[in-house]
C-alpha cells in the first residue's frame, strides 16, 4: 500500500478474475451443451451468396415453404401439403435462428440439404424427414446451392443483423474509450485518499 495505486489495482484483481472465470464457465457450459457437433463447413454470408440463395429459394423452396416476414407465400396450400407429406411444411422465416446460435442454424440447414441418401431413413441429419430431396445429386451446383440458400435463410431470420454488427463496432469503441476515461478520472479522485 506504499504504492499509491497498490490498493486499487489489488482490490480490482479478484473482481476481474471472477468475471473471467464466470465468462469462461459460461462459454464452457455452452460448448458442452451443444447437442450434435456439426462439421466445420465454410459458408459465405456475403451479399452475393444471399442474393443467389434467394433465387434458389424462389425456384426450389417456395413450392411448399413460405417466409411470411419477407412476404413469400408457399405456392401449395398448407392443407394440401399436409395431405401430400403428412405434415404442414413450416414457414422458414426464423428457421435458421431456431436451429442454432450464431451461424450454427445455417450450417445445420446446409448439412440437412446435402445429407439425403438411398437408405429407408432418407436423411442422415434428419432421419425420416417428410421433405423430399430438394436438389438432384447430379446437379454439379448442388452443394453451392445448399450453402447459398442456408446463407439466405440466416439473413431472412434477422435482416437487421448487418446493421446491428455495424453499429456495434462504434458502440464498443465508444464504450472502451469511455471506460478508460472514467477509470482515469476515478484514479484522480482517489489520489489524495490513497496517499494517506
Amino acid at each position: 500500500m506504499n504504492n499509491k495505486n497498490g490498493l486499487k489495482l489489488k482490490s480490482f484483481i479478484p473482481a476481474l478474475k471472477l468475471i473471467i472465470l464466470i465468462t469462461a464457465l459460461v462459454f464452457a457450459s455452452q460448448t458442452l451443451a451443444k447437442e450434435a457437433k456439426l462439421p466445420d463447413v465454410k459458408i459465405d454470408f456475403d451479399k452475393d451468396s444471399i442474393k443467389r440463395g434467394e433465387e434458389v429459394f424462389k425456384t426450389d423452396c417456395t413450392g411448399c415453404h413460405g417466409i411470411k416476414y419477407l412476404g413469400y407465400q408457399p405456392k401449395m396450400v398448407p392443407a394440401t401439403a399436409k395431405i401430400a407429406f403428412g405434415i404442414e411444411p413450416p414457414d422458414l422465416s426464423l428457421i435458421a435462428k431456431a436451429r442454432g446460435k450464431g451461424d450454427e442454424g445455417a450450417r445445420y440447414i446446409y448439412e440437412l440439404l446435402i445429407s439425403y441418401n438411398d437408405t429407408p431413413e432418407k436423411n442422415s441429419v434428419f432421419p425420416n424427414i417428410a421433405m423430399p430431396p430438394v436438389f438432384s445429386k447430379d446437379d454439379p451446383q448442388f452443394e453451392q446451392k445448399a450453402k447459398d440458400v442456408a446463407a439466405f435463410l440466416l439473413y431472412a431470420a434477422e435482416p437487421t443483423a448487418v446493421e446491428r454488427r455495424e453499429l456495434g463496432r462504434y458502440v464498443l469503441a465508444y464504450m472502451i474509450i469511455l471506460t478508460v476515461l472514467l477509470y482515469v478520472h476515478n484514479k484522480k479522485t482517489w489520489k489524495d485518499i490513497k496517499k494517506k
Binding site: 437487421t160 454488427r165 476515478n186 485518499i193
Partner: protein, 401 residues
C-alpha cells in the same frame, strides 16, 4: 437564479437534504473493494429494463395470435426495435450475474448480520421478484420455450398438495397455459412487479441501508463520522461510474455481437401446444435451482427443496453465531463459503444436462446433483455449530459483535 429556486424549493420540500443524505454526503467506508460495486450496477441494469420495456410495450401485442408476430415486427420494422428488444432480452443475464455476485458478497463478508437483517430480507424479496419478472417476460415472446417453460412451472405449482390444482388454474387463468395466461403475465410484468414491487423495494433496500450504513470487507462497525469514511460523492460516484461502464461494455458486446448467446434457439419457433421440445431447459440463472428440483426423486420433495434453498437464506442472520462478520478473519467460513459458491456453479452445470447423463466426475447428473444439493443445505444447517466454534484471526480494529 438556481440557488434561489433551490431555496424556494427547500423551504417546501427537503430536496437538498435528501440529495445530501442519500447521495453526496452519505458516509461510505473507504476500504470498500470492488465487490461493493455490484449493487449499483444491478440498479443500472434495472433502469435499462424499465426504459426498454416502456418502448417494447408500445409495439408488443399480448394475444396468443399476435404476440410472436409483434416481436418480429419490433425486430424488423420498428426503428432500432432490434436494439431495444436485444437490450431487454440480454439485460436479465446482466441483472442475475450482478445480483448473484452481490448476494455472494453479502454472504462472504457477513453483510446479512445485525443490524442489516432487514436490508438482507428486502434484498431476498427483490431477488425473488426479479425471478418472477424474468419468468413472466420470457413467456411473453410466445415461442416454443416460452409456452413449455410456462407449462412446466405452472405444473410445478400444480403438484402442491391440496391447493395445487386450484393454484395452477389461478396462475394460468385457465386449465392450460393460453391467452388468459399471456395477458395476465403481461399486465404483471409491465406494471405491478417492476414498479410496485421491485422499484418500491429497491427504495426500501437503500433507505434501510442508509439508516445503518454500509458493511465493509473487515465486517467491522465503523464510526459514521470517523476517519474510516469518505463521502459518497465524488469517491464512490466515480468508482461506480467507471466500473459500470466496464460491465456495460461486456453487456453491449453480447447485445450487438452475440445476442442469442444466452437464449434458446427453439424459442424462435412459435408456441405449439401439440409439439413438446426435446429438452426443456430454463434460462441459465435458474439452472442451479432447477438442478436441486430435479435431484430429489420425489416431485413434491423437489419443489420443497428448491424453494427451501431460497427460503433458508432468510435465516442466515440467525444461523451465524460468530462474533465476527467477515470471512476474511474466519478461516473456516472462508473455505466453506468458497465451496458453497463452487457448489452452486456446479449445480448450474448439472441443471443444464439431462439427469441421466454422466457428469465429468463420473456420476450420473441426478446423483451428482443430490450430493451438491446436500452440501448446499448442510452449509446453512451446520452453520450455528461451526460458526460458534471456529477460531478467528485478529481484527485490524475493534469490532466484535
Amino acid at each position: 437564479m438556481l440557488s434561489k429556486i433551490m431555496e424556494w424549493l427547500d423551504k417546501r420540500f427537503p430536496l437538498t437534504e435528501f440529495i445530501e443524505k442519500h447521495i453526496t454526503k452519505y458516509p461510505t467506508p473507504k476500504n470498500l473493494n470492488y465487490w461493493w460495486n455490484f449493487g449499483s450496477i444491478a440498479g443500472a441494469f434495472f433502469v435499462i429494463q424499465v426504459v426498454t420495456g416502456i418502448f417494447l410495450a408500445m409495439y408488443y401485442k399480448p394475444d396468443t395470435h399476435l404476440a410472436f408476430d409483434s416481436v418480429e415486427h419490433i425486430m424488423r420494422d420498428v426503428n432500432y426495435g432490434w436494439l431495444i428488444r436485444y437490450l431487454h432480452a440480454v439485460g436479465p443475464t446482466g441483472i442475475f450475474f450482478v445480483i448473484y455476485i452481490h448476494i455472494g458478497r453479502g454472504i462472504y463478508y457477513g453483510s446479512y448480520r445485525g443490524p442489516r437483517e432487514l436490508i438482507w430480507w428486502i434484498g431476498l424479496v427483490i431477488f425473488l421478484a426479479f425471478m418472477a419478472e424474468s419468468f413472466m417476460g420470457y413467456i411473453l415472446v410466445w415461442g416454443q420455450m416460452s409456452f413449455w417453460a410456462g407449462t412446466v412451472v405452472t405444473n410445478v405449482a400444480g403438484a402442491l398438495p391440496v391447493i395445487g390444482s386450484d393454484l395452477a388454474i389461478w396462475l394460468r387463468g385457465d386449465f392450460a397455459v393460453g391467452d388468459a395466461t399471456l395477458t395476465r403475465f403481461f399486465s404483471l410484468h409491465a406494471t405491478l412487479l417492476p414498479i410496485g414491487v421491485i422499484g418500491f423495494l429497491l427504495l426500501m433496500h437503500l433507505t434501510a441501508l442508509h439508516r445503518v450504513g454500509s458493511n465493509n470487507p473487515d465486517g467491522t462497525d465503523l464510526d459514521k463520522k470517523g476517519p474510516a469514511m469518505v463521502p459518497f460523492s465524488p469517491y464512490f460516484v466515480t468508482k461506480d461510474l467507471w466500473f459500470t461502464a466496464l460491465l456495460f461494455t461486456i453487456y453491449f458486446y453480447f447485445v450487438f455481437f452475440q445476442p442469442d448467446f444466452f437464449l434458446e434457439p427453439i424459442n424462435n419457433e412459435p408456441a405449439d401446444s401439440l409439439k413438446t421440445p426435446l429438452h426443456i431447459v430454463p434460462e441459465w440463472y435458474f439452472l442451479p435451482l432447477y438442478a436441486i428440483l430435479r435431484s430429489i426423486p420425489n416431485k413434491l420433495g423437489g419443489i420443497i427443496a428448491s424453494q427451501g434453498a431460497l427460503f433458508i437464506l432468510a435465516f442466515l442472520p440467525y444461523l451465524d453465531r460468530s462474533p465476527l462478520r467477515s470471512a476474511r478473519y474466519r478461516p473456516v467460513k472462508k473455505i466453506l463459503t468458497f465451496l458453497l459458491f463452487l457448489d452452486y456453479i456446479l449445480l448450474g452445470y448439472v441443471g443444464l444436462h439431462p439427469p441421466d447423463d454422466i457428469s465429468f466426475v463420473g456420476l450420473k447428473m441426478s446423483d451428482f446433483g443430490l450430493i451438491l444439493a446436500t452440501y448446499y443445505f448442510l452449509y446453512f444447517i451446520t452453520m450455528p455449530f461451526w460458526s460458534k466454534r471456529e477460531s478467528t484471526r485478529p481484527l485490524p480494529i475493534a469490532g466484535r459483535l
